[in-house]
């Protein structure tokens, strides 16, 4: 009887471990994301030194950091193309025949529904973007560096003596 119970526990354990290992864990950042445009963060943020928040402009005032509007891309690539010898991106960026431009970037970082994350307080606390997103300025294609799970958040929150209440992120 006793061994039977242990046997069941072992089976559940094995089942649990294999599920945990085999599940896709869709809430984690993904390293296999390919974008519709071969956009390089290395060139923009690394070589050209464009600040992160020039494009991700909502980071300091909102929950989301935001993806740059097409206008922001065209702002440099069309008007300043001559001056700075930029690659003139003429297709289909300034193609007026095309309907409203539809770029669907693929998400690299996602969070589960029960986690609330605001960019703004982190930016105001002086946390560098790289602290969570890794050295994006060296990456052509953004891939996650850290596994952003609760431990990752809590480590930093504990070190910096900021709230680790459940309700800081879960509500």
């Amino acid at each position: 009887m006793k061994y039977g119970a242990i046997g069941v526990a072992v089976l559940i354990l094995i089942g649990g471990i294999s599920m945990a290992l085999l599940s896709q864990r869709p809430w984690l950042a993904r390293s296999d994301v390919v974008q519709p445009i071969p956009f390089s963060h290395r060139i923009h943020a690394g070589i050209r030194h464009i600040p992160c928040q020039y494009c991700h402009e909502y980071a300091r005032r909102s929950e989301n950091s935001g993806v740059p509007p097409i206008e922001r891309c065209v702002g440099c690539h069309a008007s300043l193309a001559q001056q700075f010898a930029l690659h003139p991106v003429d297709k289909p960026w300034i193609d007026h025949e095309q309907a409203a431009f539809d770029v669907r970037w693929n998400r690299v970082y996602t969070l589960p529904d029960f986690v609330r994350f605001y960019h703004s307080p982190h930016i105001h606390a002086g946390i560098a973007c790289q602290r969570c997103h890794g050295p994006v300025e060296t990456m052509d294609r953004v891939t996650p560096v850290y596994e952003i799970n609760m431990g990752f958040c809590l480590n930093c929150h504990t070190q910096r003596h900021v709230s680790i209440e459940c309700s800081t992120c879960h509500y």
Binding site: I17, W27, R61, P69
Partner: protein
């Protein structure tokens, strides 16, 4: 060898094995990020934007502010600038969003085929058909009818232009509860109609003749705010000021229950009671001589209403009438309100107000500002014309006469004789079933428009989001058809509704525009939700012309054995709320019944008729029969059977269809009462209520004190539980920064349910339906406790908003095996959904019963899901949930303060319930800040402070303020 696994690791692994795919939130999130091409400067993704507009759910015209996230309205709140709502709202206003996102809204234009079924057609085809028919009909005169409710001034003007251009005069204004008796009474008393504005807060005594001013009568949000001031005692001591309210009517509504004395009255004699009071006032010389007041004429008028005779007929004691008259006449400010369907009761109220010198004091009358033009016709005229075959095209917009017009009007029969019936609306209703063309029009949240609550208060309506379905604004339909079909092409020379409303305002307010020009005026009006100014009330005199023949009591009711008293349901109103599941599931505050109609029967009557609870009874008037289940209550006059209006739809979407009975179907036009015969129906239908009892079982959850105690300044002893006094096992909890708390004033609470609706909207609380409510699975985070004390020396009815008390010693916390119920260092009891495994131990251990378990995966049929608040997790099946004090708003306020390098300001964080509360009964704040409005309120009302179930030593963060009342035995 035994496997050594710690309990915690075991749980972890077991949970991972079973729950990896099942826990909510573990589904892949949206995988795409779609950028703007050109961003809107005002839109910050992830941060709400606010747009001011004006509510259109009833005629009160409250200003609202729409909270918009990523282009979708997720919440409506009161507009703090608007003098009517002053930042508050009501349940019906909150639920407007469920009309906007209703899954049964007509998606595109439809045409009825020869087979009687409707098929989708393109807008062009629909408009082409209308234009052709209008062109032909405009050749003759009065061949086109527009049937719609009274609308805002701009739309009224557009309709007037439209109908004039089409060579017709058939603008029919139709709303079932349009206050016709009130207007007729003013016509009689003053010779013409005025727009009244009441000031209950300036009165000492209030008399309501069946006016449910906290629910459906007049401007409920504004009046509830005034009533809270009127009915909250201040200055303990002999001079305590505490308004005195009497309610005379056949049924105990929540308004009646919240008045000091509910006097059940035979439905035929409300007016008689009012006039008997007036007679006593005149006899005792308490009347104030005022210009235009002919005392002798008044005396002659009220001479037949001898208090003793009236008292016998009405069922009220003669001494009570004398006493009411004494108090009403002597008060420094008194107000009489009439909400009866009997014109004489309105006359009585106006005469009472006038004779005691209260016109201009507790009630102001304004000159109406109607745009010049032909007055709207009433429905009878149109029905006659339709019957005679004169009407070739009928356009019916946003009104449902087939449901709410009396069968005596024969609206449906007449409408069938019209060659083209065009229905414009949101959810196809009974009238739409008779239409040839069905056009979806923009919901008011998506549309332009304006309101005029009273002169000086001009609300503006603007679209706060793009349309949900393939609809057109009603104004655009008028403009396009006028352009295509009218012989006079210049009738509505506008591009769209926006242009028309703007042009109308430019013309209307040309004398109000400042030096900066109309553009600045318009921008400010859009930003503030309207234009608010002060207009002087009119100086009003009683007409000496009214004679005794003017006052007729409803003689058809006299001597009737049983009288049907239909009353507008506080949430479903005239029936227009029935398609909104929130309004169906918020229990009617007195009966606490959901998702159904019922017949309120007095116990004596029930005995006489030999019916029991839930028995179906058939109520038959000469016009028809309805069948409703019995609800036995002492809150109704023995001669009356009270049935709520609002249910009984045969159409109008999945939430309204085939539910309850429609009392309009047995009522004569313009009346809410009729003599009926009773028959026993077949079988029973269970009435479902989320509460099981009206009894507190000797535990005073709602604590009270009499006015006498309050005047003596005696703080009542807390109720004692027969347990040993608690000794503290743990160290007291330390709150380093904030300790959130709430103060709820039970004298101010009117039991209106706005908090419940606001909570539904803010916190993604699922609605569950009638069957699940029956099984006790209702999910409301805040509910209205309702108790019916039976002793004569207690209040009629007790209400108390009950929500999570956020205890410092929370019984739910220690019993959770997985630490899903934990305490925060800001004084909140947190419920961590992702930890919860659904043992429900916490629910069992909660003495306040405020925790709710998700037995099912909640469902919001598309597009109702668009209303969900993205700042709040949608809980899945198997998870416990409860009130969080709107922690998302607390976090938002804290983050806002953090990014601006300051502390959180008092009043910056307001939970949804407190924000919505029309009577301002709920205050939220930081208990560590002694200067917060919440703590000040506790100090100011020190004598009334108590905690719910205090002897349990749960140390709640919510403090209630005891209800002060006058014992019923005094009347």
């Amino acid at each position: 060898m035994p496997v050594e696994v710690s309990r915690r690791s075991f749980l972890k692994l077991a949970a991972a094995s079973g729950a990896a795919a099942a826990v909510p939130g573990c589904k892949p999130a949206a995988r795409h990020l779609i950028p703007y091409v050109i961003p809107d400067d005002d839109v910050i993704p992830g941060t709400p934007a606010f747009f001011a507009s004006s509510c259109n759910e009833c005629a009160a015209g409250c200003g609202v502010v729409a909270r918009v996230r990523e282009g979708r309205v997720i919440k409506l709140e009161g507009n703090p600038v608007d003098p009517i709502s002053q930042g508050a709202s009501c349940a019906r206003g909150q639920a407007a969003l469920q009309g906007l996102y209703n899954p049964d809204r007509l998606q595109r234009p439809h045409r009825r085929g020869a087979d009687g079924l409707i098929n989708p057609i393109p807008w062009d085809a629909a408009m082409g058909q209308i234009n052709k028919a209008l062109r032909e009909a405009a050749a003759g005169s009065d061949q086109i009818a527009f049937i719609g409710p009274p609308m805002g001034p701009a739309h009224e003007w557009m309709v007037e232009q439209w109908i004039g251009a089409l060579n017709s005069r058939m603008r029919v204004a139709y709303a079932p509860l349009d206050g016709a008796q009130q207007r007729a009474a003013m016509q009689l008393c003053f010779g013409r109609e005025f727009v009244p504005a009441y000031h209950i807060d300036r009165a000492e005594v209030l008399l309501s003749l069946r006016a449910d001013f906290l629910e459906t009568w007049g401007s409920p949000v504004e009046l509830a705010r005034q009533y809270a001031v009127f009915h909250t005692p201040v200055n303990p001591g002999a001079n305590a000021k505490f308004g005195l309210a009497y309610y005379v009517g056949p049924r105990m509504s929540i308004t009646a229950a919240k008045c000091d004395y509910f006097l059940p009255c035979h439905p035929a004699y409300e007016a008689a009671v009012g006039l008997a009071i007036l007679r006593v006032i005149l006899d005792k010389g308490l009347a104030h001589p005022a210009p235009g007041l002919d005392m002798q004429a008044l005396r002659n008028l009220v001479a037949p209403f001898d208090p003793a005779a009236v008292a016998t007929k009405a069922g009220i004691r003669a001494e009570t009438i004398e006493k009411m008259a004494q108090q009403f006449g002597q008060a420094d400010g008194a107000v009489a309100l009439a909400g009866s369907d009997d014109e004489a009761a309105h006359v009585a109220a106006w005469l009472l107000n006038a004779a005691t010198g209260n016109l201009g004091k507790t009630v102001d009358l304004y000159e109406p500002e109607t745009p010049a033009g032909a007055p709207a016709q009433n429905l009878d005229v149109a029905v006659q014309a339709m019957h005679d075959g004169k009407i070739k095209v009928a356009l019916i917009a946003n009104t449902n006469p087939q449901f709410s017009a009396s069968p005596q009007v024969h609206f449906g029969e007449a409408l069938r004789k019209v060659p083209l019936v065009v229905w414009c609306g949101n959810v196809p209703d009974e009238t739409a079933q008779l239409a040839h063309l069905l056009l979806p029009v923009n919901h008011w949240v998506e549309d332009w428009g304006d309101t005029c609550a009273r002169p000086g208060v001009y609300g503006l309506r603007q679209p706060t989001m793009t349309r949900v379905v393939y609809s057109k604004p009603l104004g655009d339909i008028l403009i396009e058809t006028a352009r295509a079909a009218a012989p006079k092409a210049s009738a509505l020379p506008f591009e769209n509704t926006q242009d028309a409303v703007r042009a109308f305002w430019q013309q209307r307010f040309k004398n109000h525009v400042g030096a900066e020009g109309f553009d600045a005026f318009w921008d400010q009006a859009l930003r503030e939700g309207g234009y608010f100014t002060n207009v002087k009330p009119a100086a009003v005199k009683l007409q000496p012309a009214f004679s005794q023949s003017a006052i007729k009591l409803p003689e058809d009711l006299e001597g009737a054995e049983l009288i049907l008293n239909a009353f507008p349901h506080p949430y479903l109103y005239d029936g227009s709320g029935a398609d909104k599941p929130w309004l169906q599931e918020i229990a009617e505050p007195v009966s606490q019944i959901v998702w159904d109609s019922w017949a309120e029967v007095h116990p004596d009557t029930a005995k006489r008729l030999n019916v029991n609870k839930n028995d179906l009874i058939q109520l038959t008037s000469p016009l028809g029969t309805i069948e409703v289940p019995v609800h036995i209550t002492t809150g109704v006059h023995p001669a009356a059977i009270a049935v709520p209006i609002g249910q009984g739809h045969t159409s109008y979407g999945r939430y309204a269809r085939n539910r309850g009975a429609n009392p309009w179907a047995v009522l004569p036009p313009g009346r809410l009462t009729i003599a009926i015969k009773y028959n026993r129906g077949v079988g029973q239908r269970e009435l479902v209520s989320p509460v099981y009892t009206g009894d507190m079982y000797n535990r005073p959850i709602v604590e009270t004190m009499t006015l006498a105690e309050f005047q003596r300044g005696e703080k009542p002893q807390p109720w004692e539980e027969p347990y040993p006094s608690p000794s503290e096992l743990y160290q007291p909890v330390v709150y380093p920064k904030h300790e959130w708390g709430m103060t709820i004033d039970l004298n101010a609470c009117t039991g209106c349910g706005a908090c419940i609706a606001a909570c539904y909207a803010e916190n993604n609380v699922p609605f569950v339906g009638k069957e699940e409510v029956r099984r006790g699975h209702i999910m409301q985070w805040i509910r209205l406790e309702r108790y019916l004390p039976e002793t004569a020396d207690s209040p009629t009815l007790l209400t108390m908003p009950m929500l999570c008390q956020q205890c410092s010693h929370a019984p739910c916390e220690p019993v959770c095996p997985v630490f899903a119920a934990v305490h925060s260092n800001e004084g909140l009891n947190l419920q961590v959904y992702n930890r919860c495994i659904g043992t429900r131990y916490c629910e069992n251990n909660c003495p306040y019963k405020v925790r709710h378990f998700n037995w099912f995966k909640p469902a919001w049929p598309k597009p109702l899901n668009l209303q969900l608040n993205p700042d709040v997790t949608v809980r899945g099946a198997g998870v416990m949930e409860k009130c969080t004090f709107c922690v998302q708003r607390i976090r938002f306020g804290e983050i806002q303060a953090l990014t601006e390098n300051r502390n959180v300001r008092d009043g910056e964080i307001v939970p949804a319930c407190a924000e919505a509360c029309p009577s301002r009964a709920i205050t939220f704040g930081d208990m560590k800040d002694p200067d917060s409005a919440m703590m000040k309120r506790r100090r100011e009302h020190e004598i009334r402070v108590y905690k719910a179930l205090e002897p349990l030593n749960t140390l709640p963060a919510i403090t209630y303020l005891r209800q002060v009342y006058r014992p019923r035995g005094e009347v």
